[in-house]
């Protein structure tokens, strides 16, 4: 039956008010008050060559390259991580065939907490949000028959331990396949601030995270130069409540801390090259576009003025996008198609370098195949039918956009000055100042929603019954694995651990422990460990032991006997 949904209501008398449902806001999503109109007077203090400049020229406000997308489109990426490596492998391949060219890797939640599937705390979220990638053998299954060269990989995990461990898995697989890890291309998030601020990640302390992040950065610069080890992340702080200003300011502050730590190791920003970051594409269209233009400009200035960068590359910030999962709603999920489309469009108009678009069914479960295809096709439509990427920064010169970019830059620089005054981003994390800022804005947004000052269609306004299309979207979302499947995984990992060659593994445990204690770069001992079968849980635990804290981040289990045995000789 093809009746319309609202037919039940049309028997009632209908009245119409022309001015009903008008605007409720006079500020952007991040509370920046805006006027109804902008004109040349608003740009009086802006100098085109100095503040805006052509795409490809300092300060890169309009984009990193002179021809932008004409020569090379943004990378189309997704996190693909289902319950099993086999499903994930199949999905990756089908998305690659349909235009995905940036492969984002993730793991289930326990792996991202630094524990293996046989840990009692793993059960409830095992294989949820991704594969239980406890060791290299799972990675081999997950990436079977997929290209390792000429492709971009990203590790999107929440914490530093995953970043170093899964980079090691990729290196180990390349070595094993006779390929050169020097050709490994991509990036990892590896952001010590996000790991704690947003995730309170239990695996390691911030002290360990900061040191290992820099070990990893240093190692990759020398050994896998096409891999950007750290990509400061604004997506998750923003989803946690930060405003757009605090999001980009926080990202630049983390980037500053990385370069400062790098200088302490005797390297410069020019050695490091371009800074890769991940940002959130939120629902506020113009604010989102502007945010991307502003952060490129702010970073270019920081690189040049603070770190005395000499090369253009070192002044460039490459932006990877994750569109806002938080903006997607469970009610009338078809509407999420409009949200995602606008977010992708704002990313393209903001000149970003890669886009990972959320899926329309994401408020219900892990993305289904159709929802992913919709994402890719939306990007193809934007490219080939709407012709959006034909001209670089097509909104450049708009009175509103340029005013807002300039406003963003100033506010962001003020925020950075405040972070500096408070002793830097790590101090702001440890003191709880960042968490408080995030919470305050989260509460403010919540109040606005309750008071009707922030409307969400289908949620706190324009509700209505859902018809068959919406219901179909809700019903096709990915279902989490059963308890039987989880039990199989536990048995698999126990068998895996039993069957390893401990004569090869034990020395790896010892070396990782000793490198951790002595302050040597642990990257190589992690790679060697991965090759010998060391799991993520073991790596996390041994590094913890090296810092004199319990092997188990949850303090539920003792150090495994075989680990204790092998470390007996170490002092």
């Amino acid at each position: 039956m093809n009746s319309c949904n609202s037919c039940n209501e049309t028997n009632k008398k209908v009245e119409l008010d022309r001015d009903k449902d008008g605007l409720v806001r006079d500020a952007t999503q991040s509370h920046i008050k805006v006027k109804p109109m902008y004109n040349p007077d608003d740009l009086k203090d802006i100098d085109y060559d100095k503040d805006i400049a052509n795409p490809g020229s300092y300060p890169f406000t309009r984009g990193l390259y002179s021809t932008m997308y004409r020569d090379r489109l943004w990378l189309k990426s997704f996190i693909v991580s289902y319950a099993t490596p086999e499903e994930t492998n199949k999905a990756f391949k089908s998305y690659i065939l349909n235009g995905m060219n940036d492969l984002r890797l993730l793991a289930d939640l326990p792996t991202q907490s630094g524990i293996d599937p046989d840990h009692p705390q793993a059960w409830n979220s095992m294989m949820c949000g991704g594969v239980a990638t406890y060791a290299m053998n799972v990675y081999e299954k997950m990436l079977e028959d997929m290209p390792l060269e000429g492709v971009t990989y990203e590790t999107a995990h929440q914490n530093v331990s995953c970043s170093i461990y899964f980079h090691a898995c990729l290196v180990a697989i390349m070595d094993k396949s006779g390929l050169s890890p020097k050709k490994l291309r991509g990036s990892g998030i590896c952001d010590p601030i996000r790991a704690k601020l947003v995730y309170a990640s239990p695996d390691w302390t911030t002290e360990i995270n900061r040191r290992v992040c820099m070990d990893h950065v240093e190692y990759t610069m020398k050994n896998t130069p096409k891999w950007k080890a750290a990509a400061p992340n604004g997506v998750d702080p923003c989803q946690g409540g930060m405003t757009a200003i605090h999001e980009i300011g926080g990202v630049v502050a983390v980037a500053i801390a990385i370069i400062e730590d790098l200088e302490k190791r005797g390297m410069t920003i020019d050695d490091y090259g371009s800074m890769v970051v991940s940002l959130d594409a939120e629902s506020d269209f113009f604010e989102t576009i502007t945010k991307f233009r502003a952060i490129r400009k702010v970073w270019a200035k920081v690189a040049k003025e603070r770190f005395h960068a000499k090369t253009d590359k070192a002044m460039m910030m490459k932006i990877g996008i994750r569109t806002s999962g938080l903006s997607l709603q469970m009610q009338k999920p078809l509407n999420n198609a409009a949200r995602v489309t606008l977010q992708i469009l704002s990313s393209v108009l903001g000149g970003v370098n890669s886009i990972d678009a959320s899926s329309i069914d994401e408020a219900i479960g892990l993305p289904s195949h159709d929802a992913r295809m919709f994402n890719l096709d939306t990007q193809h439509i934007i490219t080939h039918e709407a012709n959006i990427p034909l001209v670089a920064d097509p909104l450049g010169g708009s009175y509103y956009i340029e005013w807002l970019t300039s406003k963003f830059q100033k506010d962001c620089e003020e925020y950075l000055a405040e972070i500096d005054e408070r002793g830097g981003i790590y101090e702001c994390l440890e003191s709880g100042w960042l968490a408080n800022l995030m919470e305050q804005n989260r509460l403010k947004i919540q109040r606005e929603k309750t008071e009707g000052k922030r409307l969400l269609v289908g949620v706190n306004s324009f509700q209505g019954e859902e018809g068959p299309i919406n219901q179909a979207i809700s019903n096709c979302a990915y279902k989490v694995p059963s308890e039987e499947m989880r039990q199989q995984r536990v048995e698999e990992v126990i068998a895996y651990k039993k069957n390893r060659d401990y004569s090869k593994l034990n020395p790896c445990f010892v070396r990782l422990y000793e490198d951790t204690k002595s302050g040597a770069n642990i990257s190589e001992s992690v790679i060697n460990g991965v090759k010998a079968g060391m799991t993520i849980g073991e790596m996390c635990g041994i590094v913890r032991l090296g810092y004199g804290i319990s092997y188990d981040p949850f303090e539920m289990c003792p150090t495994p006997n075989y680990v204790e045995e092998s470390l007996k000789e170490c002092e």
Binding site: I115, N124, A200, L326, M330, S474
Partner: protein, 135 residues
């Protein structure tokens, strides 16, 4: 009413998504309830214990990993084991229609998916307390 309604919000396992739990913490407090949040990375036994020792009226389980059915089953069993089956369990977060049916069948008194109105949860708990008074 003799005392404020007391709600424990619990998160179990390694699910990192916390915004819903934190939001409900404030929403329920603003509605005049006493609310305790366990924080992330807890166990079923842990959150059930908190609910019992806090003498809670309601234990609200938040999860966005998709595992509410698995978690709530264990939580309810644990409450029974502790002779605290009178503590009502509410689920919030990521759930499919099938999940909601399963949750209801096992005794979860209400399930609020992502994007549910804050007010609905408040009204539901208030009604629940009125019924409890009558009992």
């Amino acid at each position: 009413m003799s005392r404020k309604t007391k709600v424990v919000i619990g998160k179990v396992g390694c699910d990192i998504h916390e915004r819903g739990a934190l939001t409900m913490l404030n929403v329920l407090r603003d509605a005049g309830m006493e609310v305790v949040y366990t924080g992330r990375y807890q166990t079923e036994e842990g959150v059930a214990n908190v609910a019992v020792s806090e003498d809670a009226d309601v234990l609200a389980i938040s999860d966005l990993s998709g595992s509410l059915v698995i978690i709530c089953k264990k939580v309810i069993n644990e409450l029974k084991r502790l002779n605290a089956a009178d503590i009502k369990v509410i689920a919030g977060g990521l759930m499919t229609k099938d999940d909601i049916e399963e949750l209801t069948a096992m005794g979860v008194v209400a399930s609020f998916g992502t994007g549910s109105s804050f007010n609905d949860s408040v009204v539901f708990i208030e009604k629940l307390m009125v019924e409890k008074e009558k009992e």
